[in-house]
């Protein structure tokens, strides 16, 4: 049995779901692959919980029952303040999992954490997009020079292996990627069309059921979708800068717009587009005929159409959702373990 030490930074929706999924599935993974996934440290904005030998299932479940910002209260393992150096010195992790919030101005805290991890010989799995969007080449070069992996399939269509598939299409020239990449805004639009409520009401409902954040700016203003286009562009080797993505704010859509569209047999969608031939990228409010394939993707589903010089593909799946995203993170962790850690 091989032990793999994992450090998790960020213990919000995804962090908790990840810890819970690991606690429920690690025995199964151990039986199947002969590896013990040991979560040795977990951090939030106020503190960390550290256990060198790895937390057991019961401890992981109890941890995910903590209120926000309370890891430091997780007796006897909790400590005030996050000192990543201390964490690494004590736990010597093989894999670093970054689940902190996205900050598109600085990339922090993810950017520093990821570089620190790589420089201390840990592979990285991130669901946080900002460090990749702002520092993709630097991060990848750092990893490559040390023979380490950085995986991030949870960042785009987080509940699906879309990025894995895209990056495996190595012989294709990818000309166009277009789709619904943000679950929150798609849910809001679906609410507006189905229940004929205005934007504010739909947003409130999305917040009530946990589909939208208390501060929905990143979703509503198109930053999240733009960041995803940016990551896609890097994966297919035709990088664009996030600032060059043209964005429209979804808050402009009124109930009247929706009614007008419906009357004309159309549906309003918030569509992200990366056109590598014309080198343009945008996140726009568009009207689509009702029978358009993207028009039929409702609620928290995401969908992408990929056009290459050889073929056209259509991909539908859950965009986020903490449990789905946690599984994507877990899958990245396992693929690193199987390819890199055990193989070595």
């Amino acid at each position: 049995m091989r032990n793999v030490n994992v450090v998790v930074m960020g213990f919000g929706n995804v962090g908790r779901a990840f810890v819970k999924v690991v606690s429920l599935k690690r025995k199964m993974i151990a039986e199947k692959y002969g590896i013990n996934i040991n979560i040795v440290a977990v951090g939030d904005s106020k503190g960390v919980a550290i256990k060198k030998e790895g937390f057991d299932e019961y401890e992981l479940l109890k941890m995910s029952e903590l209120p926000r910002s309370s890891l430091h209260m997780f007796a006897p393992y909790g400590r005030q303040e996050v000192d990543i150096k201390e964490v690494y010195r004590e736990t010597e992790p093989h894999i670093h999992v970054e689940l902190t919030p996205a900050n598109y101005l600085t990339g922090e805290p993810g950017y520093s954490n990821i570089l620190f991890a790589l420089r201390n010989n840990a592979h990285v799995v991130t669901a946080n997009k900002a460090p990749l969007v702002l520092h993709y080449s630097e991060i990848m070069n750092e990893a490559r020079s040390r023979g380490l992996s950085v995986r991030f399939r949870a960042t785009v269509m987080g509940g699906t292996p879309f990025l894995e598939m895209l990056s495996s299409m190595k012989s294709h020239d990818i000309e166009r990627v277009e789709g619904i990449l943000n679950a929150t805004t798609n849910y809001i639009l679906t609410e507006m069309h189905e229940n004929l409520v205005d934007f504010e009401q739909a947003l409130k409902k999305a917040q009530a059921i946990g589909v939208a954040e208390a501060d929905p700016t990143l979703d509503i203003e198109g930053f999240d979708a733009a960041a995803k286009l940016c990551i896609i562009s890097h994966v297919i080797g035709k990088p664009i800068n996030m600032n060059s993505v043209y964005r429209e704010s979804l808050s402009k859509v009124t109930l009247k717009d929706v009614l007008d569209a419906v009357r004309q047999g159309q549906v309003i969608k918030y569509v992200a587009l990366l056109d590598t031939q014309n080198k343009v990228a945008s996140v726009k409010i568009v009207r689509l005929p009702k029978d358009n394939i993207l028009a039929q993707v409702g609620g928290v589903l995401n969908a992408v159409r990929v056009k290459t010089d050889a073929t056209e593909l259509f991909f539908v799946g859950k965009g986020g959702g903490r449990i789905e995203t946690a599984h994507s993170v877990f899958d990245d962790v396992l693929s690193i373990v199987l390819e890199k850690v055990i193989g070595k």
């Binding site: 429920l24 209260m73 009530a208 609620g299």
Partner: protein, 379 residues
Amino acid sequence: MKERRSLCVVKVGGSLLRDGRSYIESAENIKKTFVDADRLPIVVVSAAKGVTDLLIEVAKGSKKHLEAVTEKYLSIASEFSSPKLSRRVHEELEHLKRVANTISGSFDAALQDLIVSFGERISKILMVEALEHVNVRAVELNARELIITNNIHGDASIDYVATANNLEKIVKPILETSATPVIEGFIGATEDGAVTTLGRGGSDYTATAIASLLGIDDVYLVTEVDGIMTADPALIPSAKIIKVLSYREAMEAALHGAKRINPKAFEPLEKFYGSTVFIGSWRTFGTKIQRELPADLAGPKLVMHKTSGDIPYIAIIGEGVGNTKFLKMIIDIFYEKAFSILGIQSYYYRPSILVYVQKTEELKILRELHKSLFEGAKP
């Protein structure tokens, strides 16, 4: 590591959950009755007493009732003097408040279910804390992830296949950690993740479904009373606890309005594994409800009356009461006491006789029948 056969299901009714003290009492009883006896109970909890009714008002837009719920749960939480717990409960209540703030004029059944679900969600957190408080390792399960239902908000039915799949996946980790899992009764979610509620008595339904789908032998439904009685003790003080009932008898009694039995709860038991249901209090589980009755236990089990419309009826319930001999005996009683019969209904395949009677004689008949059927008086 616990054995699978150590599992049982224990539902703790809301009438028992009034304050911090009563959560701890329930936890102590769970420990004494099950954990110390080397069993691993899956605990199903209802909302604390009165909370569901308050939340229904919240769903109609009442801020006053929202305050009442907040106060009630915060005060229960504060009795544990755990800052962690208070913060957690506070977080849930903040979430509830956000949801309540989205209420607009029109009634939205999905929103009502979401709001009402917080009653059980917070109660579960409190019960886990109470168990830990009495040194029982306990963990939360999430009904919204495990109990999958159709989308009939307010009265949803469990999707047995999807739910069985979900439950089966967590059984092994539960047995491995040997920690007592606690899950919300009464709530579930659709495949799409919308929160639903299972209707009146829904916690019993959650409990029997879990037991039946996991092939668990025993389900304990804990309330304030010691069991199901031969008649309503408020009317007939000499009413006794019924020791054994069949599913059919219990469902028939529920059909005619018997309290503490929820007919929906028997559906999974009839369709899948036939677990035995024990109904009672922490003092004693007086009534046992099982799939089949041994032949010697056939016969009348309880009498009740129901006033529907103008003509009330008396129902005599029990396997085999529809046979000719028993019918004759009942009619003899009416004849001797000179009660009038306005109508009578009985089928050989149903465990009941219904006798329509005059309003003025209703209670007298009930008493007379109880006396001759259950108190050994010769008719």
